[in-house]
Amino acid sequence: MKLYCLSGHPTLPCNVLKFKSTTIMLDCGLDTTAALYFLPLPLVHSPRLSKLPGWVSKDGAINLEKELKECSGRVFVDSQPEFCLPEKELLDLSTIDVILISNYHCMMALPYITEHTGFTGTVYATEPTLQIGRLLMEELVTFMERVPKAHAATCWKNKEIQRLLPGPLKDAVDVWSWRKCYSMQEVNSALSKVQLVGYSQKVELFGAVQVTPLSSGYSLGSSNWIIQSHYEKVSYVSGSSLLTTHPQPMEQSSLKNSDVLILTGLTQIPTANPDGMLGEFCSNLAMTIRAGGNVLVPCYSSGVIYDLLECLYQFMDSANLGTTPFYFISPVANSSLEFSQIFAEWLCQNKQSKVYLPEPPFPHAELIQTNKLKHYPSIHGDFSSEFRQPCVVFTGHPSLRFGDVVHFMELWGKSSLNTIIFTEPDFSYLDALAPYQPLAMKCVYCPIDTRLNFHQVSKLLKDIQPLHVVCPEPYTQPPPAQPHRSDLMLELQPPPMAYRRCSVLGLPFRRRYERIHLLPELARSLVPSEIKAGVSVATVSAVLQSKDNKHVLQPVPKPAPVPPSKKRKRVMEEPPEVLNPKPLLSGAVPLEPFLAMLHKNGITEVKVEETADGHILHLQTEDVLIQLEEDATHIICDNNEPLRTALRDLVLRFLQKL
């Protein structure tokens, strides 16, 4: 059993597990942080961005002013943003049988994996994961296609040139493998390969392996996966949360008794408490609005935004800001809000019971009804005529490189009255802001990451007791910025097996058994005999049938009766047909009872001679020698086949057959 690690990113994993005869990909996260090296894509022509100076090396030898632009001392690529894909060279992607998706954030690389690679397998995901994942992909594609770039910058990627570029561009790795965004057609084709599953549904893969998604408590439809056979169990934990937000709580007990637990998707901000961050978010928001400024919240279109809206729904009235309009701008804003209301089965108890009334589970329905929250597909169209300030705008993309957020940065960045509040933990906010410097607007960093922290995970592991833990390398050491915080790492016994991008780990498994079924007729025919107290054995002679990785033992068919016309003699001349293996023998042949047995069968003249290891019996009339030893019997008998077989059967009576 092996694990191929195609991504080193701890929260955007992509691993391939070879288990029994199956090849299973666990998640395919897309690392979008590569977009930070690129210049933002403005929706409306931005004089500032277009006037940025091109980059020329100090000695003037390299001139890349068309491809690279300089802003406040940093160099950005002026091209459509690209993403870092999971490793494609480590193994043949066309051999992948299934892909298991744990949550909608961890499937964004799916089209790169399933399209143009020869992939013919099935993708398993829950319904909310599929629907919201589709929305996020659709949003990404729209963001890119809305602002087409005529030229793709590639010269800077030349190794010789990249070496000479200023940091951090100089240090970017694998830039040749970066790819631009996929098309909607590829998204549709990739998602058509998804098969929906429900929590605790047992899915059989080729009869060899069973996979089961379990609620992970992180987002709508998010799951951990159990991959097991009758004897081995691998748990894949990815993006789990123990906090009570909107999703169904995490199912923990089914993770018990794992041989191997693959642990990914812990919190990216282990030092921040989500509840505290939420409080800070509200107070900063209120402060800005009271001062007449606007608040910009760069965010994904699904997930924490539902909790933010719910929190604000309660907070705004109590803060006397009930009239402040909220705007949610995204090509999929409406769909995201609508979809969130129809997945009652995937929500926490509290929200689920609302549906029974029947009421929508999320209060944003009321915010929309009372016109406090308005959603628009983009800043163009109705929004421009309807929007009032001061206001709160939720929009993407959190990298600040594309999407409607770029426009608001240009619009509001110059005024110190306005505030940008970062809530998504995926991007460094300083890097995200770099191409907008110098910036007058206030920046507040309130990352809300509800995923497990190190304290929670060590308690969880103590409860579920996996034999081995596999995790990304960063989890095995303290964060680089806080080298003394040994509490911010995994300390386990035995120590976790760490992986990085391109690692291939052999998982510590010794498979020893497989499940087989005895047909009832065969089971009934068995004759068990007790060997010692509580242990019985039975000799099984049967025909093995293996089909679709399922094994069945059938009774040996009775040989067809020999047609009476055939002469007996001829039959004798045929060599024995099938090599039916004989059972092994065990036990000893005791002298006295054996002699008695011989006597009973008419063999009376026996001369017994003692030897070093036992006895030699000489059957004088028949001229046969029988050597009896503790672990061996030797019958020497010439020219008398009936006698030999008779003696054989007498000996066998004393022995156990296995």
Partner: protein, 598 residues
């Protein structure tokens, strides 16, 4: 021999008060707990005294499963759990859990408040009963206890309707509840995987009907409604608040829109808006088309259909009214019917099945005079139309489901005996499986024959699979040999060698040696060579080696040749073999006694 026992307490050769007891692998499960619309006395509920004469049911049942929210499937639930007494888990899907208590409360109101019955369950009992409900998700495997697991499949029929698979070890039962094999305007078709249950318990409402295409029926329905409205008549469509009502509303809504019709359409109870809201929130349970477009246009927001007020019934001019309940046995639909029955311009369309004893059933059978309370009679002059819109599988659909699930046995419930008989014959002919149709209180026993799961050592399995080759020869099956070790409830099949080792036993070697005398005028080496050639030609499929030290080895049988100095032509052939090669050794000694071919 293990068996599965099935006893209907209701719905055995009948439609109404569905309640089926299943005993499987030592577990007892109650499937549905419904009421009968045709009775107002004790026969209204299943006879729970069958389970136990005195006391509560909790210790006799491991769980109760409700397939969908129709009252003939869940109407007796509060009576069973709160009045007879049951505290175990009750499983149903989320939509059923949401809607079922509302219909139960309606039922209670009609029975207690309108008819003045006492000794009936109370509102509080409905609430207490619902607290025992555990929601089920589709395809989720729910472990009721260590051995018993259940799994729900989509059944169509009404919002949240489910089929359930019940499994203990290797034995399983599937219960369909009510289902529909063709998608309609708001729900999808039932689906199940090839789960090969020991027995499939299916409804058989339309056992003998093969219904024409849905399109034709819809066109027919619209034509009739349209014609009646055109000539100024009133159309009454008795429905249940949830289910068919929504489908017909969607149908009329789109028709009204297309034809630009002005006649009002009303929906009778206050439940409408609420009911539609359930459909909106449980949109994932509707059909593909509605789910796909719900963000742009929610099909359950109607423009033309408005709430009905009692006084509208006397308004002049044409109108269409959806009124509950669906079988005209009580409530608003019956009141409106009484008002409109005398006018031949009007029409009543019965879109679903009517249970015996209801007004709906009577008028469908052509009865023109109805006896009402207080000896009054009612002349039925309005047109009576029946249109099967109730979403049950027809004969074709039932056969289709059997093909999908591949059950080993079949059992029919929820249908009329005569029709069942016909379908039973058809099933037995087409699938060559036994089909049962027990009456209420009658037990069907099915002997199951589960195979025995065993742990086989991987070494043994791999060795056998390698020896057997990729394509085993069906005519010459290979016999595999192993030792089954039974210890502390575990069954392990290992190779005999491993068994010896594990049990700390030593092997006992049994050998045979046999001397054969032979006249052969050659040197010893040549004789051995001739033996080798001879055996080579006789034993084609065996491994035979001529070892330079003067032995021939066949498999593990050793053959040597010696002769005495006095008689060099009299050879003594020495054969020695172990018990494991007994057959071959015996054969060789016989063969060599016959001499060598010259």
């Amino acid at each position: 021999m293990p068996d599965i026992k099935i006893t209907p307490l209701g719905a055995g050769q009948d439609v109404g008060r569905s309640c089926i007891l299943v005993s499987i692998g030592g577990k007892n499960i109650m499937l549905d707990c419904g009421m009968h619309m045709g009775y107002n006395d004790d026969r209204r509920f299943p006879d729970f005294s069958y389970i136990t004469q005195n006391g509560r049911l909790t210790e006799f049942l491991d769980c109760v499963i409700i397939s969908h929210f129709h009252l003939d499937h869940c109407g007796a639930l509060p009576y069973m759990s709160e009045m007879v007494g049951y505290d175990g888990p009750i499983y149903m899907t989320h939509p059923t859990k949401a809607i079922c208590p509302i219909l139960l409360e309606d039922f209670r109101k009609i029975t207690v408040d309108k008819k003045g019955e006492t000794n009936f369950f109370t509102s509080q009992m409905i609430k207490d009963c619902m607290k025992k409900v555990v929601p089920l998700n589709l395809h989720q495997t729910v472990q009721v206890d260590e051995e018993l697991e259940i799994k729900a499949y989509y059944a169509g029929h009404v919002l949240g309707a489910a089929m359930v698979q019940i499994k203990v070890g290797l034995e399983s039962v599937v219960y369909t509840g009510d289902y529909n094999m063709t998608p309609d305007r708001h729900l999808g078709a039932a689906w199940i995987d090839k789960c090969r249950p020991d027995i499939l318990i299916s409804e058989s409402t339309y056992a003998t009907t093969i219904r024409d295409s849905k399109r034709c029926r819809e066109r027919d329905f619209l034509k009739k409604v349209h014609e009646t409205v055109e000539r100024g008549g009133k159309v009454l469509i008795p429905v249940f608040a949830l289910g068919r009502a929504q489908e017909l509303c969607i149908l009329l809504e789109t028709f009204w829109e297309r034809m630009n019709l002005k006649a009002p359409i009303y929906f009778s109870t206050g439940l409408t808006e609420k009911a539609n809201h359930y459909y909106k929130l449980f949109i994932t349970w509707t059909n593909q088309k509605i789910r796909k477009t719900f963000v742009q246009r929610n099909m359950f927001e109607f423009k033309h259909i408005k709430a009905f007020d009692r006084s509208y019934a006397d308004n002049p001019g044409p109108m269409v009214v959806f009124a509950t309940p669906g079988m005209l046995h009580a409530g608003q639909s019956l009141q409106i019917f009484k008002k409109w029955a005398g006018n031949e311009k009007n029409m009543v369309i019965m879109p679903g099945y009517c249970v015996q004893g209801t007004v709906g059933h009577k008028i469908l059978n052509g009865q023109k005079k109805l006896e009402m309370e207080g000896r009054a009679t009612l002349d039925v002059k309005l047109q009576v139309e029946y249109m099967s819109f109730s979403a049950h599988a027809d004969a074709k659909g039932i056969m289709q489901l059997i093909r999908m699930a591949e059950p080993r046995n079949m059992l029919l419930v929820h249908g009329e005996a005569k029709k069942m008989e016909f379908l039973k014959d058809k099933i037995e002919q087409e699938f060559s499986i036994s089909c049962y149709m027990p009456a209420n209180g009658e037990t069907t026993t099915i002997v199951t024959n589960p195979s025995v799961p065993v742990d086989i050592s991987l070494n043994l399995l791999k060795r056998e699979m390698a020896l057997g080759g990729p394509l085993p020869d069906a005519k010459r099956p290979r016999t595999m040999h192993g030792t089954l070790i039974m210890k502390d409830n575990s069954l392990r099949l290992v190779s005999p060698e491993q068994a010896l080792k594990e049990l700390g036993l030593s092997e006992h070697q049994l050998r045979f040696t046999c001397r054969v005398q032979l006249h052969d005028p050659h040197s010893d080496t040549d004789t051995l060579g001739r033996i080798y050639t001879h055996l080579k030609s006789v034993l084609k499929s065996y491994s035979i080696q001529h070892v330079p030290d003067g032995t021939v080895i066949v498999e593990s049988i050793v053959i040597k040749v010696t002769s005495s100095a006095e008689e060099p032509n009299l050879k003594v052939i020495l054969l020695s073999w172990s018990y494991q090669d007994e057959e071959l050794g015996s054969f060789l000694s016989t063969l060599l006694k016959k001499g060598l071919p010259s």
